[in-house]
């Protein structure tokens, strides 16, 4: 009954928003204006806010500030940002996007934390021939088979998450578990929205490819009040490795109930979102979260500045300094880097080319410029390069050079443990006896 009332409220507010959002958009009206108007849409409230959306929005804002302090894009086109709050709800996100695009008449819509929002939104925005620049949401279904012309994402796709974690375990199994990869038993649990189910599906496919045993695969609602029966089931399935994808309240609930109910495994591998918020996890669990893995685009502070091209090291440090100043946090979450980095690519690579080569920042100019983006590895503050899939590609609009890392919380610090080429520490694997989740 509570749910119904909330819905009816939302319906009323949505109608009101739609009513006010009916103004026509005049293409090319911005061509004379000096500033570039960007609608920024993140979940500033609701459960996704603390699971990475707010850090992402701060990262984006810092990118705008740093560019505007130098006079704007190409030193003369300032960024005018208009904020929206998608409140962790897809229907609100769509209304907010409508408002930003058709009332505020922004030139570009940028942001989007949640895949549950990005998947429906991308198609709607693209149909209006407007630019959507996705910074955080990862699900493959944003692009797959849709042939979107004006939607771009420098962020790695969800399918890479499940692949990398499985490969990481397979690579280390002989040395650390004294087991062949085919002998390792894996269990996959996930929140059942597009984000969790997408990552879980890619993980399952990769386990199958490797030949690893999948002993349990189960989804749950991120707002569930109880995960005890899932924990009990996991105990019955006896996995060596637990692959988990979730947001924040559910991860906290799961880890707490897993400890209480005596779940014991050799490794817990998280995939972004709630697992990326190390400060928050540590606040709730102290050293219990040590040695849990997290697959994510790298938190930029972990990369060796010398491996970044040009003056990117300096830019990265400037961003990190500002982020710490604004938030006062100790462990900067990867989402902050995503918000900054993927905005930075637009501001410093795509927009200058669109203006200089294609005469402005119309959707047409931006998409042409984006398809010519060719940033090599080491060319962004998160280490990866950028090359967007073009027409004819099943994933058109997705960055084909994006990559992920496996991080581990060791002794209160985040370390890169995989791929081996850029690791800052050797992974602690299997879980040491000090962990309450360690197999005994």
């Amino acid at each position: 009954m509570g749910q119904m009332t909330r819905r009816s409220f939302l319906a009323t507010t949505s109608l009101a928003a739609a009513g006010t959002a009916a103004g026509p958009w005049v293409p090319g009206a911005h061509a004379q204006a000096k500033s570039i108007t960007i609608g920024v849409l993140y979940d500033l409230t609701g459960p996704f806010a603390a699971a990475g959306a707010v850090p992402g929005s701060i990262g984006t804002k810092i990118a705008f500030d740093m560019i505007n302090e130098k006079g704007g894009v190409l030193g003369k086109h300032k960024i005018r940002a208009i904020e929206g709050d998608s409140q962790s709800k897809p229907d609100v996100a769509i209304n907010e996007a409508e408002r930003l695009l058709n009332v505020e008449k922004v030139d570009i819509l940028l942001g989007i934390y949640s895949s549950a929002i990005a998947v429906p939104l991308a198609e709607k925005v693209d149909k209006q021939n407007r630019v959507l620049w996705v910074t955080i949401a990862i699900d493959d279904r944003v692009f797959r088979g849709r042939d979107l012309k004006y939607t771009f994402r420098a962020q790695p796709p969800g399918s890479q998450f499940g692949q990398l974690s499985a490969r990481f375990i397979a690579d280390y199994a002989p040395e650390r578990f004294k087991m062949k990869p085919q002998e390792v038993k894996g269990a996959i649990i996930y929140e059942d929205g597009p984000y969790g189910s997408g990552v879980a599906a890619s993980g399952e496919a990769e386990l199958k490819k490797i030949g690893m045993k999948l002993v349990l695969k189960e989804g749950y609602s991120a707002s569930t009040p109880d995960l005890a029966s899932l924990v009990t089931k996991l105990k019955a399935a006896r996995p060596d490795v637990l692959f988990h994808t979730g947001y924040n309240p559910d991860i906290t609930l799961f880890l707490r109930q897993a400890k209480e109910l005596g779940l014991r495994v050799k490794a817990i591998v998280g995939h972004g979102a709630g697992y990326g918020q190390y400060d928050k996890l540590r606040e709730a669990f102290r050293e219990d979260v040590d040695h849990i893995f997290n697959v994510d685009p790298v938190a930029s502070q972990l990369l060796d500045a010398k491996k970044l091209k040009g003056n990117l090291g300096k830019i990265r440090d400037e961003f990190l300094g500002r982020y710490k100043k604004v938030t006062g946090v100790d462990q900067i979450p990867p989402h902050a880097s995503m918000g900054f980095n993927n905005t930075w690519v637009l501001l410093t690579d795509v927009l200058p080319r669109a203006i200089q080569k294609y005469g402005g920042w119309s959707p047409e100019a931006i998409q042409k410029a984006a398809l010519e983006t060719d940033i090599p590895e080491g060319g962004t503050i998160q280490g990866y390069g950028v090359k967007f899939a073009g027409p004819g590609d099943n994933m058109r609009g997705q960055n084909l050079r994006a990559s992920l890392v496996v991080m581990q919380y060791i002794g209160g610090k985040t370390q890169i443990v995989y791929p081996k080429a850029i690791q800052t520490a050797s992974p602690v694997l299997p879980l040491p006896g000090t962990s309450p989740y360690a197999a005994r």
Binding site: T45, L230, E260, A284
Partner: protein
């Protein structure tokens, strides 16, 4: 499936039921007497959880003391909600009443976001792990269950053994007649809202040791609590307890036998069927 694990799930289900019953009882008490559904009831619980959290983390209060303070604070909040929001709309059409308490829900969520941001906050308590005969039981849940039982007993004694409790029951049975008997219905409403608030405060104290609190905490428990209250029969105390145990067992044991998602599907289907068969609730009084 190992029978031991099924037993573990069944027991954990009963323990979850205790927590849900506490939530359902307070809401049910208020509905039975005041005849208005407080859509924002779990949001009061959320505020109580914040109260415990801040008292413990900022002022280093012992958890038990902070929990007791939360009971008092939310009881006062319950009375304020009644005086400021419910009392003026007592004779309004039900849809207006729903809109008003629904508005309160959004207000409390936004207010909590404004004050404390959207962070998830948890108390860091080192609770013991209970292993009994190969089964693991959640200590926090066991504690919550025991306190819930005591609270239910207390509520029962209050309603049956005190003058005001008797008046509360009388109002819930026939609000017109009781006015003719010279009972001040306003006072009964205020006491009921206070007791309902205190139950929310107690639930808050027991939930903060198991869950992180955030402004949207109500989303996890709100719909389930309303479902239980309706299932058990609006206004029926015993029905609320039975409804809680039924739902929590379906969720726990159903989750083991099928899947976590499927267990909720079964629970909701069960609810819909129950509403068809007994729309007034499974244990409602026949009128």
């Amino acid at each position: 499936m190992d029978p031991l694990l099924v037993a573990e799930a069944a027991i954990n289900g009963i323990l979850l039921g205790g927590v849900l019953a506490l939530l359902a009882l307070g809401l049910n008490l208020i509905f039975g007497v005041v005849d208005i559904v407080w859509i924002a009831y779990v949001e009061l619980v959320m505020l109580g959880m914040y109260a415990v959290y801040w008292l413990v983390t900022l002022w280093a209060w012992p958890v038990v003391l902070a929990g007791m303070a939360a009971v008092g604070l939310v009881a006062i909040l319950g009375i304020l909600v009644h005086l400021l929001i419910i009392a003026p709309i007592l004779s309004s059409p039900p849809v207006n009443q729903l809109l008003a308490t629904g508005g309160l829900l959004f207000f409390l969520q936004s207010f909590a976001t404004f004050l404390w941001a959207t962070d998830h906050r948890s108390l860091r308590l080192a609770l013991p792990i209970l292993e009994v005969g190969g089964m693991f039981l959640s200590f926090a849940r066991l504690l919550a269950f025991a306190v819930s039982l005591l609270a239910m007993l207390g509520l029962y004694l209050f309603l049956t053994r005190t003058y005001i409790g008797t008046a509360i029951r009388a109002v819930s049975q026939d609000r017109e007649a009781i006015a003719l008997m010279g009972v001040d219905a306003r006072k009964v409403y205020i006491v009921t809202s206070g007791v309902g608030g205190a139950m929310a405060g107690l639930a808050a104290a027991l939930l903060i040791i198991q869950y992180s609190v955030h402004p949207y905490f109500g989303a996890a428990f709100g719909p389930l609590t309303f479902m239980i209250v309706v299932l058990g029969g609006l206004g029926n105390m015993f029905g609320a307890v039975v409804g809680s145990l039924l739902m929590s067992e379906v969720i726990s044991v159903g989750g083991i036998i099928t899947s976590t998602e499927m267990a909720y599907v079964v629970a909701f289907v069960l609810f819909i069927v129950a509403m068809f068969v007994r729309p007034e609730g499974i244990l409602s009084r026949r009128e």
